[in-house]
């Protein structure tokens, strides 16, 4: 048995080594079609390109020109003195009237208003042709997109499924295929988790004369078994710490490329996503890690309320946790704004204007937040500073305090011990298992669901606008539809928070017999109120999703 285990671990380490060699040696695809050399080389035609070409000439060429040059003066002058089709066609339907202008579609940087091929194909689908917007079927949009990509020298094969991975901004994708790395990494983590789960529980206590490693030392020597049951704690607190570390590390990596200026921010996010090797994976982990952190923190909060764990002596730590939740939401919102693209434009406008609705201090607070009378470079700098320094620093200090208080308050709320303990080695084993599984899940999310991205904010209003708040604020957006911005957008959420914060002071201390159980009788009304609040939150979020 002992020998078998050694074989397994040797096998694992060899697999990891081979995998890393493979990953490191995948060549980056060479950058073709640098903006300078035009026309770009077209070695492999896009699939469906020929159909697309025919469609282009029947639908698009009339306005955008046969060579995709756009409605230039030279092109317009071919159409008689009125420079319009209606002259000869004697028809007054809009199809025979030229639009004011039609942009060029083929040539260097002509498609640069779109970030990726999916946005281009969506735009064609929704807005084109201009006299019958939305009139093209998906089977026509797809070859048209392929045709435009082909004409613009984009070599990455187009398929509607992978359209979001084809950048129209960068000369060419240079990243190694992130999916291969992601899938194999996930498989490896799953394998490691499996082998760890198979391992029998370590019952060794520290051998005489040896000391625990630093990582082990961070844990108490032993904790009551009651405090470490999955079905009681849901592992949510520990998972939140792990996700915080993941988000912190990937955030540090993003700092190497992110440029916090209005002109560069959106472009640098595109650079990370489309050009930096493994950039999409890092950004995906940061994004999904942050979303998961919100969910896990809320689950943690619900667990604490539904088990009555907020009561004395954990009253203060409950308040610390609520403050941490608020900081987390602020961190999430500021990070969202840092994309500085059209996808976040209206959330930024609405979120900051909401401050203005506060009586007396609103205007001052608004100007302090955005750094001047109007949104601009100072706004981005301040959001950046809060995101990477101010909120992060306060958050880190409070996390330390929160965890310290858990130990100071005698660990996790549980009935008095029945002499069953687990040691720190078993605790670390369980934590590692949870980390491996959640990391595998995160990587899967990062490679299959790309983090959102849109065209950088420009001064003029663009057509493709996203007016949805980030998902965790959709309920506020729905509330704002009903009336006064201050009372519904700030007052009500704050009142909800205050209600939660009052729980430990309204409900009596849990008797020992009710500790460590779900739904104790002593704080039943707290559970009912929270359930109603959670339901209201869910209902408002769903309503907002349906309204749009």
């Amino acid at each position: 048995m002992q020998i078998l285990k050694k074989y397994i671990s040797a096998f694992l380490s060899i697999t990891i080594f081979i995998f890393m060699v493979l990953l490191g040696s995948i060549p980056s695809q060479t950058a073709a079609a640098a903006s300078g050399d035009w026309p770009p080389p077209r070695t492999q035609p896009q699939a469906g390109e020929e159909t697309g070409s025919a469609l282009y000439h029947s639908f698009c060429a009339a306005c955008h020109g046969a060579a995709g040059q756009g409605l230039t003066a030279a092109f317009r002058s071919q159409f008689g003195p009125d420079e319009d089709c209606a002259e000869c066609h004697q028809n007054t339907s809009p199809a025979y009237t030229f639009p004011e202008n039609a942009p060029a579609l083929i040539g260097p940087k002509t498609l640069k208003r779109f970030v990726n091929a999916r946005q281009l194909s969506n735009y064609i689908q929704v807005k084109m042709p201009w006299w019958d917007a939305g009139g093209l079927s998906a089977s026509q949009t797809s070859p048209l997109t392929a045709h435009l990509l082909h004409q613009n020298g984009i070599l990455v094969p187009y398929s509607p499924k992978k359209a979001h991975q084809i950048s129209l901004r960068q000369p060419e994708q240079t990243t190694p295929n992130p999916e291969f790395g992601g899938w194999s990494l996930t498989a490896l983590l799953a394998l490691a988790a499996f082998s760890l789960a198979q391992r029998e529980k370590p019952n060794e206590t520290a051998k005489p004369g040896t000391r625990p490693s630093f990582f082990h030392h961070l844990h108490p020597p032993r904790i009551p078994a009651n405090q470490s049951r999955w079905r009681y704690t849901l592992g949510a607190g520990g998972l939140a710490v792990f996700l915080t570390i993941i988000v912190g590390l990937t955030g540090i990596l993003e700092l190497f490329f992110y440029v916090p200026t209005p002109e560069q921010a959106g472009l640098s996010v595109q650079l990370i996503t489309y050009s930096v090797p493994f950039g999409a994976l890092i950004r995906g982990l940061h994004f999904w890690g942050a979303q998961a952190l919100v969910i896990v923190s809320i689950i943690h909060l619900l667990r604490v309320i539904f088990t009555g764990a907020f009561s004395h002596p954990r009253r203060f730590n409950f308040l610390l946790g609520l403050v941490l939740l608020v900081i987390l939401l602020f961190l999430n919102f500021t990070g969202y704004i840092l994309r500085w693209d059209e996808g976040i434009h209206w959330a930024l406008v609405v979120g900051t204007n909401l401050l203005r609705s506060i009586p007396l201090v609103g205007e001052t607070l608004y100007r302090f937040t955005i750094g001047g009378p109007t949104l601009g470079a100072a706004t981005l700098t301040r959001f950046y500073a809060w995101h990477i320094f101010g909120l992060t620093l306060i958050g880190a200090l409070l996390i330390g305090w929160h965890i310290f208080r858990v130990r100071r308050d005698g660990g996790i709320a549980a009935p008095p011990t029945n002499r069953e303990y687990i040691n720190r080695f078993e605790l670390v084993r369980r934590e590692t298992l949870a980390m491996l599984i959640s990391l595998a899940g995160l990587i899967l999310a990062a490679i299959t669901l790309p983090a959102p991205i849109a065209t950088p904010i420009s001064s003029s209003a663009t057509v493709l606008t996203e007016i949805r708040a980030p998902w965790f604020f959709l309920w506020v957006q729905q509330l704002l539809r009903y009336g006064d911005a201050f009372w519904l957008g700030l007052g009500l959420p704050l009142a909800m928070l205050a209600t939660l914060a009052a729980f430990p002071y309204l409900f009596p201390r849990l008797p020992d017999a009710e500790k460590g159980r779900w739904f104790p009788r002593t704080s039943r009304s707290a559970q009912i109120i929270t359930a109603w609040l959670a339901l209201a939150w869910l209902a408002l979020t769903l309503l907002e999703l349906l309204t749009q």
């Binding site: 609705s357 007016i467 957006q477 309204t547």
Partner: protein
């Protein structure tokens, strides 16, 4: 009332002086934080010659954003920024609608429904040498 000796007096006096200095320091911090480097830019937009807006036309100027109406009575300009929380309202045949929170306005910009409490803000129009200028009265 217990005996209040010189030591107590000195203690209270020095503590309150320290506290006061702290407050003055805080006001310095407040002044530091509330400094605004540039005054708000004059909100005036040149929108070109009068002739580009023939009578009866309704032109959306996306840069401002505003709607310029040329009526028999003359020019009327409406800001398309929703007075609720600042989204740009959509110009529909039946009037205006805000995509963010659903406020609705009639074609002349008057409030019909929704969370907004005010009508769309009219903009001032100036004509110099046949050129039109729109300006926003500071909100």
């Amino acid at each position: 009332m217990t005996h209040f000796n010189r030591r107590d007096f000195l203690k209270i006096a020095s503590n309150s002086l320290l506290g006061l200095s702290g407050l003055i320091g805080l006001s310095g911090l407040f002044r530091f934080l509330s400094y605004e480097p540039a005054p708000p830019p004059p909100l005036e937009y040149p929108i070109g010659p009068i002739d580009s807006y023939p009578p009866g036309s309704r032109t959306v100027l996306t840069e401002i954003p505003a709607l310029l109406i040329h009526d028999p009575e003359g020019f009327i300009a409406l800001s398309l920024t929703c007075p609720h929380l600042g989204c740009t309202v959509e110009n529909l045949p039946t009037g205006f609608e805000c995509p963010c929170h659903g406020s609705r306005f009639d074609p002349s910009g008057q409030l019909l429904a929704g969370p907004a409490a005010k009508a769309l803000q009219p903009l001032q129009i100036k004509i110099k040498d046949g050129q039109l200028f729109l300006s926003q009265t500071t909100p």
